[in-house]
């Protein structure tokens, strides 16, 4: 008797969870505003317009960023749908109006679902190469 009721409860719970999963909103959250430290806001891009870094930026973007942010920075990479927060549209005016320093902070220091990349991309030259590449998404 006990076994039977246990089985029944388990079945009900599992079925319930399965059905509830349709009701939970699947849409991604909009990101809250970032708190960027003063130091980064004022940061100068020492490699601005350095054409020799174009290829480097493209390669590093493909390796570290593309899986979530997508080929053209639209936030449509294969991993993007697993994120709770929308990862942003890099071609938008809103995104492109941010200073290089702010983008640097968001890209390499990160927060929440956006991981820290200081260890994986340790060289400042490489980091600015990626920031330069993000500028090419501008429409």
């Amino acid at each position: 008797m006990k076994k039977k009721s246990l089985l029944l409860i388990t079945t009900v719970v599992i079925t319930g969870l399965f059905l509830i999963s349709w009701m939970v909103p699947q849409e991604q959250k909009k990101p809250t505003p970032w708190e960027v430290p003063e130091k980064y806001k004022k940061m100068e891009n020492t490699y601005k317009d350095d054409a020799s870094l174009n290829k480097v930026g493209k390669m590093l973007y493909a390796k570290h960023c593309k899986s979530c942010h997508g080929n053209r920075g639209l936030g449509d990479g294969p991993m993007a749908k697993n994120l709770e927060t929308f990862s942003g549209n890099f071609s938008s005016e809103e995104f492109q109006n941010q200073s290089d320093g702010v983008l640097f902070y968001k890209s390499f220091i990160g927060r929440d679902e956006m991981p820290n990349y200081e260890k994986k991309i340790p060289d400042d030259e490489d980091r600015w190469a990626i920031i330069n590449f993000l500028r090419t998404f501008k429409k």
């Binding site: 290829k55 493209k58 493909a62 390796k63 570290h64 899986s67 260890k119 994986k120 030259e125």
Partner: protein, 294 residues
Amino acid sequence: MKKFLIVIISIIFAFNLAYTQEEEIKKDKAVRLPFNSGILIDNQTCEIPTAKTLEMLIQHRFGKMDNGIKDIWGIYSPGANIRIGFNYSILDNLMIGYGLTGRKMQSDFQVKWNIVQQTRKNTIPVAVTLYGNMAIDGREKENEGIWGVNYKFSNRLSYFGQLIVGRKFTDWLSIQLTSSFTHYNLVDSISDHDKIGIGINGRARFSPQSSLIFQYDVPLKIKKISEHHEFINPSKPNFAIGLEISTSTHAFQIYITTADGILAQEIYMFNRNDWTKGFSNLMFGFTITRLWSF
């Protein structure tokens, strides 16, 4: 042998000297990622993840390919070999690691030291790396077929040391040359305890994340260090070719290879598969690595 060692030591010394001299004038940065991962099929590369990074590896060899469709070219056949390992980068150029291999239940402890890195302005044209490991055979000591009647712990030990010289020639092509020394404390009566080997391996990248990878390792038959008059059934060269796909924290390699030993000393000492004989001597294998930074 002595001459060989002298040459190696003088090469290392010369590069070290060149490096310190150059540093005084202007810092020339190391080239970007000559390899995507610290391992290339069975070989080590000059790549070491940045300090305080933990790397986990799963290396897998399937069975031989000669049964064809019956067991999907060995993928579903028994007799697979697996190594699971963990490496930790203490410094940007120094890594230690531990791994356990299924066949013989060998535990290995390894050290890799990147002596010099190739630089972008070519002040140092090549990367020089030293790799060494010690493995402990983990099979039960009651097995007289392996250990004989006088079991001694030291008979379980084997050692491997390797000098790796590599160069990233272009953005897409990196090649390494290796020379190595293998020693087993216990071998059967017709084999040698020591083996010297040379090898070549590399990667050719064809897209930002994918590369063609290959390796060819040759155990040398050197009369001078042999304990026997002739070589009976000596170990065969190890050939492998495959694909590598890498992302931010993963590298995935899939390949066709001759050696099922996984550990370098096992391959140089005991590989009897000959790639020229076709499917019956070849197998599929894969490696997955995952990085965690602290």
